[in-house]
């Protein structure tokens, strides 16, 4: 049992001080922007919640929200099960384990803009490998004109880019499960599937919580790679929330409006993440911290 002691705050204080500078000042500044009407060279005017009303009524924003939510949930539905499956299938020791772990890290280590550019060449109708493969199977793949192709290419790029993160976390989580659990399940005659469901999965809950939260937050803010791969098109098929935000903030230089959008965007991520956090930390907590009996 943990000791109840509020003096533990002193241990947390250094971290809070460093983060506080970064977290509070910009956040409050953005709140300030969001209630003002700002144009270059003119004094800012207080407009209250008007910016928020305009954002919520904007069709481009609403469309992007729907597209973004669909995208992020799709990413989670693919990457989390795939990541766990790969982690289960990976070799446990020897040079193959080392090589796989290092190779899995490669996509994570490439900056986002290079990822976007490489995928752009990789999928370009006249230069890339992907169109060649699809043409071989008789499908006319065209990223620049077909919005379905563009959308699924973005999904494939993100799976390629980030599934490794889920694998590394799940792999570390799997290796922390004591062998005794599996021996007990074997003695009880549990099938592999039931062993996975009742032994493995509950013990992975913590690492999967962090994997789900990280992947959700980051996919919800995806920008650079998509911008370089498709530029948000064709049409608005791959225009995600950050893209709309950047257009408003950088291109139209509408700071008040884009600050309001940023905050709505932020609270959206916050609320969904908090729901994930609550659900994932409450399910299956029954006996996951008890040593195996028998």
């Amino acid at each position: 049992m943990k000791i109840r002691d509020n003096k533990a705050w002193f241990f947390v204080l250094p971290a809070l001080l460093v983060m506080g500078i970064n977290a509070f000042v910009p956040f409050i500044t953005v709140i300030n922007y969001s209630v003002l009407d700002i144009f270059r060279g003119l004094p800012a005017i207080w407009v209250g919640l008007e910016n928020y009303q305009v954002v919520l009524g904007d069709n481009l924003f609403r469309g992007a929200v729907v597209r973004q939510v669909q995208f992020s949930f799709l990413i989670l539905l693919i990457q989390i099960p795939l990541g766990v499956a790969i982690a289960l299938a990976l070799p446990k020791k020897g040079w193959t384990a080392t090589a796989s772990l290092v190779a899995l890290g490669f996509p994570l280590l490439i900056p986002y803009n290079i990822v976007g550019i490489i995928w752009r060449v990789f999928t370009r109708a006249d230069l890339g490998l992907v169109p060649l493969i699809f043409n071989f199977f008789g499908y006319e793949y065209n990223l620049a004109q077909n919005s379905v192709d563009a959308y699924w290419t973005v999904v494939a790029m993100d799976v390629w880019h980030w599934t490794s993160l889920v694998v590394l976390l799940a792999y570390a989580g799997l290796n922390a499960i004591p062998d005794a659990y599996y021996q007990a399940a074997e003695i009880d005659g549990a099938s592999p599937w039931r062993t996975f469901l009742y032994v493995t999965l509950p013990r992975l809950r913590s690492v999967l919580t962090i994997a789900v939260l990280l992947r959700f937050m980051d996919s919800f803010r995806i920008y650079t790679e998509v911008f370089l791969l498709t530029g948000g098109g064709p049409g608005t098929s791959t225009t995600f929330l950050s893209d709309v935000l950047v257009r408003k903030a950088v291109i139209s230089f509408d700071i008040g409006y884009s600050a309001a959008m940023s905050l709505i965007y932020f609270y959206f991520i916050l609320i969904i993440s908090y729901i994930f956090f609550l659900v994932l930390t409450s399910i299956g907590t029954g006996d996951s911290n008890q040593p195996p009996s028998g």
Partner: protein
């Protein structure tokens, strides 16, 4: 865990690694091609094999300086992150205190702020404290992502160490700091390695803040790279070569923490 691996599992795994490898091989191949070849032919094996792209990066002072700047802020970020995260993670793993659960979640909310608009106040903030255009500015800004993750990971490793170890050390007359340094830190060594890796990773690939907080002196790789995306069209070969080179430091780091990953950790608190 000893299970028979079916041939299908192995085949599926190989299929995934092929999917993983293809874009990487495409990048590797691009890095050895001339721009003309990249834009006119489609082949994995370069026809006119060239080292020019690598030479441009390795010999220009600007590129070398950028690699140095990026490594510097990533390094500073790792040090700050570990120094403040270790005690915080210890508090979360050993004590319950007022607001601990909310604080634990709040830490992670700092990852959620969308870039574009938040960058402007960061620029103002770091200009105001005279850190603009230094590696310190980027390192400090990146702690926003790295500290929460490090605390979550370290807390998991620490919760795996029985509390009896702390108590025994105190009975043996260790002071808190002596115990933490001589007994506790070696025990959670793997956790420190893994936390350092994740701090490295997210700081190394982050572009927007690094670009916003630096000017002409401390140019990170991403800024030097955007020159290759300049007016005369993209310098595809150099971009690919930069991608290949940027994998190397992180790959070395994974090689060193691989055993810790294989040893396993199961975050404790959540």
């Amino acid at each position: 865990m000893t299970r028979k691996r079916s041939i299908w599992v192995t085949l599926a795994l190989i299929a995934y690694f092929v999917f993983l490898a293809l874009p990487l091989l495409w990048m590797l191949s691009m890095s050895f091609k001339t721009n003309t070849e990249i834009l006119t032919t489609r082949s994995l094996i370069p026809q006119t094999f060239t080292f020019d792209n690598y030479m441009e990066i390795l010999t220009t002072p600007e590129w070398r300086n950028s690699f140095l700047v990026s490594l510097t802020y990533v390094g500073i970020n790792m040090i700050i992150t570990l120094v403040v995260s270790l005690p915080a993670a210890y508090a979360f793993s050993r004590y319950s205190f007022l607001g601990d659960n909310h604080l634990f979640f709040w830490l992670l909310t700092n990852r959620m702020a969308p870039g574009a608009v938040f960058l402007l106040p960061y620029f103002q903030l770091y200009s105001a404290i005279n850190l603009f255009d230094t590696p310190y500015a980027v390192a400090l800004a990146h702690t926003l992502f790295s500290i929460p993750l490090a605390i979550w990971i370290l807390e998991g490793f620490m919760s795996g160490i029985p509390k009896a170890i702390d108590e025994t050390a105190y009975v043996d007359g260790y002071s808190f700091f002596a115990f933490f340094r001589k007994i506790f830190m070696p025990l959670i060594g793997p956790g420190i390695g893994v936390a350092a890796f994740f701090s490295f990773l997210f700081s190394w690939v982050e572009l927007l803040m690094a670009r916003t907080l630096t000017g002409t002196v401390a140019k990170p790789i991403s800024v030097t790279l955007s020159r290759s995306l300049g007016a005369e069209g993209w310098d595809w070969g150099v971009i690919a070569a930069a991608g290949v080179l940027m994998i190397i430091p992180g790959a070395i780091l994974i090689y060193f923490v691989r055993n810790y990953l294989a040893k396993g950790f199961a975050l404790g608190r959540v």
